[in-house]
């Protein structure tokens, strides 16, 4: 996406905002790229693209929304634009409403293996359509429903519906590992 470059006067402000954004959301951005790209090289490229887009966009940040909202919007939109343009990555995607994955093969007595669990979770997220993927990722990042609505552009009611569905899918997938004990 092309944006007008920041003039010299904005440079230090942009840098300050960018440093704040990376300090507060840098790890979340890494997790986000993991959820969009399974391939390590592509993931690295995507993270670079996200940081570039973030830097370029911050000259227009006017403080009307929270910095976190801005960062998540830019990151998800950058990742989604790559996903939409790459047709092969788009055609296999499913919605939360359509997802129905088997859980019976997993031993309920087995202790929850975090690494294996995260791999399964990432695999699940990478199969979701952009909107559902965004809601699930923001939910996992512990963002509240109001902020999720602001980031993705959904009404509170629709966010609540989506989150309810996210919880059901996560329960279906991970109850044997992380449920009541």
């Amino acid at each position: 996406m092309g944006h007008p470059p920041a003039d010299a006067g904005d440079s230090s402000r942009v840098r300050e905002l960018y440093e704040r954004a990376v300090a507060d959301y840098g790890n979340a951005l890494k997790r986000l790229t993991r959820a969009y790209e399974a391939d390590a090289d592509r993931r690295r490229d995507l993270l670079q693209e996200v940081h570039m887009a973030l830097w370029a966009s911050l000259a227009r940040f006017d403080g009307r929304s929270a910095l976190g909202t801005w960062v998540y919007r830019v990151a998800h939109n950058t990742a989604t634009s790559i996903c939409i343009r790459r047709k092969s990555a788009r055609v296999q995607l499913v919605s939360l409403e359509d997802i129905a994955l088997p859980t019976a093969s997993i031993d309920r007595e087995r202790e929850f293996d975090e690494r294996q669990g995260m791999e399964r979770l990432l695999d699940l997220i990478q199969r979701l359509r952009p909107l559902d993927r965004q809601v699930m990722l923001l939910y996992l990042e512990d963002i509240d429903a109001r902020a999720i609505g602001e980031i993705v552009g959904l009404s509170a009611v629709n966010v609540a519906t989506k989150i309810h569905r996210v919880k059901r899918v996560l329960a279906q997938q991970f109850q044997e590992g992380v449920g009541d004990e």
Binding site: M1, V22, T33, Q48, W55, G153, S155
Partner: protein, 199 residues
């Protein structure tokens, strides 16, 4: 899933680390500038390739006057298609700020891709078909080709291949336009999509 299950999953999610993706904050601006320089370099290489290709084509026009019909038509159509691709490319989409709510942004992207696919016959297929006609006209009238032993077979093979290729491209892009339209409808159902940017 219970709240404790939720919390544990989110805690595990937050603990994910990938040191290989660390961003060097001290050099953030330099990294961005370096990436922009890489993009500028790639653009310069592309422009250089166009310059070399264009001048070679002009040389053909000049030194092979009996092929001027096809070479001039080809050059004009190549310039037209390249210009149209540039106009319709993502790089020119300055009207969709990247900080829009994700759903609004996604819809804008899908609409752009759909319009690109559905308008393909107008800006790509018709000009390319005209170029094929110019090639066939040259084949049919130029003694370089008409005296060839395999003239008829060559001409038939070319026409057949060109028609099949154009039809396949047209059908593929039409399918893509329909898929994109379905995706647009999917994100608009049940009043999910808000039409106005929220900030």
């Amino acid at each position: 899933m219970s709240n404790s299950g939720d919390d544990r999953l989110r805690s595990a999610w937050a603990k994910q680390t990938d040191q290989s993706l660390d961003v060097d904050l001290a050099n953030a601006e330099a990294n961005v500038l370096r990436r922009q320089a890489e993009i500028a370099r790639r653009d310069r290489i592309q422009h250089g390739s166009v310059a070399v290709g264009g001048s070679s084509w002009l040389a053909v026009i000049w030194f092979l006057p009996d092929l001027r019909l096809v070479s001039v038509t080809g050059l004009v159509i190549a310039v037209w298609v390249t210009w149209q691709m540039y106009l319709r490319s993502g790089a020119r989409l300055v009207s969709t700020p990247i900080d829009l709510p994700c759903l609004v942004f996604q819809r804008a992207l899908l609409e752009r891709e759909r319009d690109l696919a559905s308008s393909l016959p107008k800006w790509f297929l018709i000009p390319v078909a005209i170029f094929q006609v110019a090639i066939v006209a040259t084949f049919a009238t130029n003694p370089r080709f008409t005296t060839s032993q395999f003239y008829a077979e060559g001409l038939a093979l070319f026409v057949g291949t060109a028609v099949v290729t154009l039809v396949v491209i047209w059908r593929r892009w039409q399918r893509q336009a329909m898929e994109l339209q379905r995706e647009l409808e999917a994100i608009s159902v049940s009043g999910l999509a808000s039409s106005e940017p929220r900030s």
